[in-house]
């Protein structure tokens, strides 16, 4: 954006210094994440750039931390556990959350705001408190240190995201569509599967993605409700950072950054699709 010719020198200085400040803030946001990517190819077990790396000497780089990640039993178990726990908790959270959102969006729903507040509370309550409560209660009923315990806990933490995204999608839903489907002879079941589901599907999928990332990224609850057997990737990273820090963690971090870029892309595409379907075109 070029400045108009009539700007005073003072305004020019202000304009450029403001832009510089903004640039620095964006740098602060993104630099830490970018920095770990080259560091994960370090040939020596340090968290910093070596002389060889700065001279772009191939000897300074190595893939051994990635090799360590893919071959170590600890990490392989963690990947498997993360997948299983995130998958099942997402399925539970998405199913229950979507059904509840369908009920909440009905105009006849009584006590709507109270119920909404209750359903959202797992998102509001600090994780350490949820973790403490679940640890106490699940060890009472023998679910502490089991897959079922961790899956149930993660499903509970994921449902608010599903409820919020699906109710948001439903709030833009045109009820006339249901009536016209009925007037054209569709049964409620047909209407649900052929009219409602395709329209709210983007909301459901992005809610499911939020639930998935919640479980995939969650560490506090899994630290208390789970045990070594249920170790997930974040669990393994947490104990790795605490005990002996090795660049394998940076390799894992790099892989996770790539995963999150992919997820971000999917969510963005879904958001655009919803907007297009609703007839909102990006200006």
């Amino acid at each position: 954006m070029a400045l108009p010719a009539y700007t005073t020198p003072g305004e020019r200085v202000w304009f450029y210094s403001y832009r510089t400040i903004c640039g620095l803030i964006f740098f602060f946001l993104i630099a830490p994440i970018v920095v770990i990517i080259p560091l994960s190819f370090n040939a020596v077990p340090f968290f910093t750039f070596t002389e060889e790396m700065l001279k772009f000497d191939p000897a300074g780089y190595s893939l051994k931390w990635y090799e360590d990640f893919f071959t170590s039993l600890n990490w392989r178990g963690a990947v498997k556990n993360s997948g299983i726990i995130a998958l099942f908790s997402t399925l539970i959270a998405t199913f229950l959350g979507t059904v509840a959102a369908l009920g909440l969006s009905k105009s006849e729903m009584p006590f709507k705001s109270t119920i909404m507040a209750l359903l959202i509370s797992p998102m509001i309550v600090p994780l350490i408190i949820s973790a403490a409560g679940m640890y106490f209660f699940y060890s009472r009923i023998g679910l502490q240190g089991t897959y079922i315990g961790v899956i149930l806990a993660h499903a509970a933490l994921g449902t608010p995201f599903v409820v919020i995204t699906v109710t948001a999608t439903l709030s833009g839903f045109d009820l006339v569509l249901i009536r016209s489907a009925a007037s054209l002879g569709a049964t409620p079941t047909t209407t649900f599967f052929r009219i409602i589901v395709p329209l709210i599907l983007p909301g459901v999928i992005s809610g499911a993605l939020f639930a998935f990332i919640t479980s995939f990224d969650e560490v506090v609850v899994v630290l208390f409700v789970g045990s070594y057997e249920q170790r997930t990737i974040p669990w393994q990273m947490f104990s790795g950072i605490r005990e002996r820090i090795s660049p394998t963690i940076l390799a894992v971090a790099t892989i996770l950054v790539i995963v999150s870029i992919m997820l971000l892309t999917v969510v963005e595409l879904l958001r655009r699709r919803t907007e297009r379907l609703r007839g909102v075109t990006p200006a």
Binding site: A100, L118, P122, P126, I129, A153, I241
Partner: protein
């Protein structure tokens, strides 16, 4: 004639029921159907989330172990009047002997000992010692107890035991607020050196406030920039905000460890440029600085997103109109633009504050000693010191603070308006 007129006044459906009744019935059916859709999730959240939180509430006051194991002594102690300055009567000692013998056999007495040790250190060893000898005690039991350990002759021992003989206790809350019972049973502040939790709560609030202010200071300029740029450019810049938002928390914490540690990137750069000498590297991690820097970075997107969405709705004509009416850019900003963004500041600010006062992972990894927050102590009492009652009491206090803040958040923004991405 009259009956005919009456039936005409009330409209009915085909089968003769009044329309009003029929409508109410249909409405009720719809209501029940809506409730039935919500019921499974409500039930699920109730069992997996609310019951655990209530369990924590219960644990913070629960004291079952003492009256259960000391089943004969506890009721007698509760009746005993400790104000006349004399030891309990012989029947209490006799009951205590019985409880100790039984408790030693069932191995439960030592748990009472460690429970009472939270009230005053020394109880644990007192109980262990007495449990070993109790089966050889002979009447008169008072003398036998005092012979086994002189502490049984101390009035305070019995006073504390009497105080904690009920099924419920407030002593975990007292401990969590750095209060304790004085010598005559009144509640007093702990001396300065022993007060840890109030300091900790205060530090948690202080650091959270600092992080919130830093987030605001960093989020305001970039949100404003993004709201004024054309959509294509601002979407690109938004990616720079959303990518950290979507990146695993542990990845971001790890990144800050790599950057801030003594042999880390920032120290290396400073040494390379000669700003500091090699043996003078800055300690930026495992202290409060590490916590504040890493948490500001992690929570910044939570401030940018609400601010940006508010700023986008402010028409640029407002500022132009203000300048047109003779306001300098500074005055126009302070009197026109800024007041319009206050709701965004409130929303983002409370959100960041709520998240940071309950934060555990980042302070645990980069906080060291003076950068740890209240949640780290909850975790410590849960997994290391195993004082679950105190952990629960601290948790309930923290939950109380969060709920109050959440109430204000709901007033300002409304829970329903929460959006992501």
């Amino acid at each position: 004639m009259t009956t005919e007129a009456a039936t005409q006044q009330v409209m009915t459906t085909a089968d003769g029921t009044p329309l009003k009744v029929s409508l109410a019935k249909a409405q009720r059916r719809l209501k029940i159907r809506a409730l039935l859709l919500v019921a499974p999730l409500l039930l699920f959240i109730l069992i997996t989330f609310f019951v655990p939180v209530f369990d924590m509430l219960f644990r913070s006051v629960e004291n079952q172990i003492v009256p259960e194991v000391l089943e004969n002594t506890a009721p007698l102690l509760l009746k005993w009047d400790d104000r006349d300055g004399e030891l309990p009567p012989e029947e209490v000692f006799a009951a205590a002997k019985e409880d100790f013998v039984k408790g030693a056999k069932a191995k439960t007495i030592l748990r009472v000992g460690s429970r009472m040790n939270y009230e005053q250190s020394g109880f644990s060893s007192l109980f262990r010692k007495t449990a070993r000898r109790a089966k050889n005690f002979e009447s008169p039991y008072k003398e036998a107890f005092i012979k086994a350990d002189r502490k049984w002759g101390d009035l305070d021992t019995w006073r504390i035991l009497k105080r904690e003989s009920g099924a419920f206790t407030i002593s975990y809350y007292l401990a969590a607020m750095d209060l304790s019972y004085g010598p005559s049973g009144d509640i007093t502040m702990k001396p300065k050196g022993e007060a840890i939790y109030l300091t900790l709560f205060w530090r948690t609030l202080k650091l959270s406030f600092l992080i919130t202010i830093l987030c605001l200071a960093l989020a305001y300029p970039i949100s404003y920039l993004m709201s004024t740029l054309p959509l294509k450019t601002s979407n690109l810049l938004m990616i720079l905000v959303l990518l950290p938002f979507w990146t695993s928390l542990l990845v971001r914490t790890t990144a800050w460890i790599a950057l801030l540690q003594q042999e880390g990137v920032i120290n290396d750069l400073l040494v390379y440029f000669g700003l500091i000498t090699d043996d003078n590297r800055l300690a930026m991690i495992h202290n409060a600085t590490g916590t504040v820097v890493a948490m500001t970075h992690i929570l910044l997107p939570f401030m940018v997103l609400p601010l940006f969405s508010v700023m986008k709705t402010i028409p640029p004509t407002y500022m132009r109109a203000a300048k047109n009416l003779g306001a300098t850019p500074t005055v126009a900003f302070i009197r026109v633009y800024f007041p319009n963004t206050v709701s965004g500041i409130g929303a983002g600010g409370i959100l960041v504050f709520i998240i940071s006062i309950g934060y555990y992972i980042t302070p645990a990894l980069v906080g060291g000693v003076d950068g740890t927050l209240i949640s780290n102590f909850i975790a410590y009492h849960m997994s290391t010191s195993l004082n679950w009652g105190l952990a629960a009491a601290l948790g309930v206090l923290l939950l109380g603070i969060v709920l109050v803040l959440y109430y204000f958040y709901d007033k300002i923004v409304g829970v329903d308006n929460m959006k992501f991405g």
